[in-house]
């Protein structure tokens, strides 16, 4: 599944669409940035409620492909700008992290 396919499949709002479209291998759900640093895999999707630019910094450092911010949390302009500079896709969902993670898991594991 490619980053761009997430938008339709999960009904996401595109907050930062300046990214190189590529395959997503996995996802990681966490709001603790050290936990993301330690455990998230490259080319994965971060499902989180942390809507600030430090989440982008962590995503970029570990090579994550996209961030999905849940619960319709407002996205600060500087977060979107940081993501644009780093080429990290940022999406927003009105669903909870639990719902987004569940649906993402099903999408990535469908036969």
């Amino acid at each position: 599944m490619r980053i761009s396919e997430l938008v339709l499949s999960l009904g996401l709002e595109v907050a930062q669409g300046g990214y190189a479209d590529r395959e997503i291998s996995t996802g990681y759900s966490s709001d603790l940035l050290s936990d993301v640093m330690a455990n998230a895999k490259a080319d994965g999707v971060l499902v989180t409620v942390q809507a600030h630019k430090n989440a982008v910094a962590v995503a970029s450092l570990v090579g994550l492909a996209a961030i999905v911010v849940c619960n319709s949390r407002p996205l600060p302009d500087d977060m979107v700008e940081a993501a644009r500079n780093e080429g990290v896709a940022v999406f927003r969902s009105s669903e909870t992290a639990f719902e987004v993670s569940g649906r993402l898991w099903a999408l990535l594991h469908r036969p």
């Binding site: 940035l33 330690a38 407002p74 302009d77």
Partner: protein
Amino acid sequence: MSAMSPLPISPETGPQVVLELIYRLKVRDAMSSPVITAATGDSMREVQYRMRDNGITGVPIVEGGRLVGLVSMGLVIEALDAGRIEQRAGELMTRTVISLEDDMPLAFATTYFNRYKYGRFPVLDRDGRLVGIVSASDIIRALLVAMNAEVERLEEKLSASASDRPADGLVRLGFQVTRFDFENAGKASAEIKKALKGLGVEADIVRRAAVASYELELNQVIHSEGGSISCVAGAGRIELAAEDRGPGIPDVEAAMTEGFSTANEWIRSLGFGAGMGLPNAKRVSDDFAIDSGPGRGTRVRVVINY
């Protein structure tokens, strides 16, 4: 919402003196207190009078000491327009209120003003009680007072500093880290990552170095009075050194235990303070040494071989 031009101060690119100022000053140093508030049962008319009588443009709505909403001048005007001025504030207020904490550095407040374009932010204490309100003019006043003092101090001791760096084939990088500067947090690590990639170091090693430097950098932002991160890389070896100006770690063994954290609530709300920083840094290191104690700074040295 009020259309407002951004505060012409940047927590990222300003002069060092100004940066130190906005991270040293707390929101409580600038906020107005006590706050003029209204209850959910008060009418919009009542709120309008309170604005007029006090010369303010926003009134937090409070229930039992807790902030539950906010009525801005804009909402009052809308209510007047729609003939709903006798309606209760609780029905027409904005419920999604973005607030600041009194303990946050002033830099957070300046960033919030530029980020959210609201005219004012309610200020809560660590227990969630409404303790103040801060407007852009409150911030400008507090900054001017502090800058005047700072300029006086600088005029008294104008000193010059010089630095030179020898070149011996190794890549050397050095970064200053400022307490609570979450705006620039991660920049040192990003630069180190870029430099290592430039050296042609393989991706997995780069990631390990990025994890270690990010954790050490964030530890300085969160816990220290400020410090520095340096990186020397080349010839199969990456050495990271983090050195700060205190206050030092009372129990290093506890700090090295996963889950142990002394971070406060608002730092945790940003996703930090998981108690994984030092253990993460150690895990990705081939060689890890830490030296710290109360009353002196903390020094951490990380070596990753490739």
